[in-house]
Subunit: 160 residues, 2 copies
């Protein structure tokens, strides 16, 4: 098998043209491929002015859990505290939340959504739901439910 091969078959080895990649057996590989598709469609659907996925996630948690601290938010999102600073900066710059002092512990800055932030979340929630509905129209409601449950199970397992 040494030396140059024929151009006629340089794209794939003919014996394997129909083979299913071994990779397909791995959850990790399939998770990544699916994640890339969904997040790319999220960005496309929300546009250049829209919130990035992680900014949307942070805003949703701040609205739902008023006065959450940055450390608490980082824990909920599963990222480091340092990664939150730019994210909260962006939400504050957009006028969607405020850092507020906490009486009794001056280290802490509680995060509080503004009414503009709540409105932006409502609109973004609708856009994100529309994006997922359209993108995942090939999955039935019960398939989506099963998928959610299994993905959440991975997270719960890891936490224990």
């Amino acid at each position: 098998m040494a030396g140059p091969i024929s151009a006629r078959r340089h794209h794939e080895d003919e014996a394997n043209v129909e083979a299913v990649p071994i990779l397909e057996e791995f959850i990790g590989y399939n998770l990544k491929r699916a994640y890339m598709i969904v997040q790319a469609d999220f960005r496309r659907a929300l546009g250049d002015e829209g919130l990035a996925p992680r900014v949307f996630s942070a805003l949703a948690l701040v609205v739902q859990f008023p006065n959450i601290t940055q450390s608490g938010l980082a824990r909920l999102l599963g990222i480091e505290r340092s990664g939150l600073v730019a994210l909260v900066d962006e939400l504050e710059r957009r006028g969607f939340l405020k850092r507020t002092q906490v009486r009794g512990d001056r280290r802490v800055q509680a995060l509080v959504a503004t009414s503009a932030g709540e409105k932006a979340l409502d609109e973004t929630l609708a856009a994100v739901r529309a994006h997922e509905t359209a993108l995942l129209s090939g999955l039935s409601a019960s398939e989506k439910e099963v998928l959610l449950t299994l993905l959440q199970k991975i997270r719960v397992m890891e936490a224990s």
Copy 2:
């Protein structure tokens, strides 16, 4: 609700302490959280000298599809051609594959795994299987199968 809040409840708003985040309804969010867990465990399991996930993926495809081109490999992996250069460089530097000339089309460099590459893939496959088995021990065989099928369905939908 203006002004500083009490330190006693600065971590969460008491009314929402037990609430399930709205985020949990989204496939995208849950995909990302699960993906981050699995890929972090992959890296931990394979160690600093081991292959990174995407390098493992590329090697697996080159071994299974001898003489695949870089463009073909990029297409299979769902990434841009430009992103493959450093990746193939690493595999070549490790001695796991060779770029070979193709007779009849001098633009193309077919990728061929070396025997060291095949051996490395065998060992890495075993390590990756062990990592997924251990990490996902909370999922039954049928749950894993369902999860794989649903994730692949997202990819197939997107391709059409």
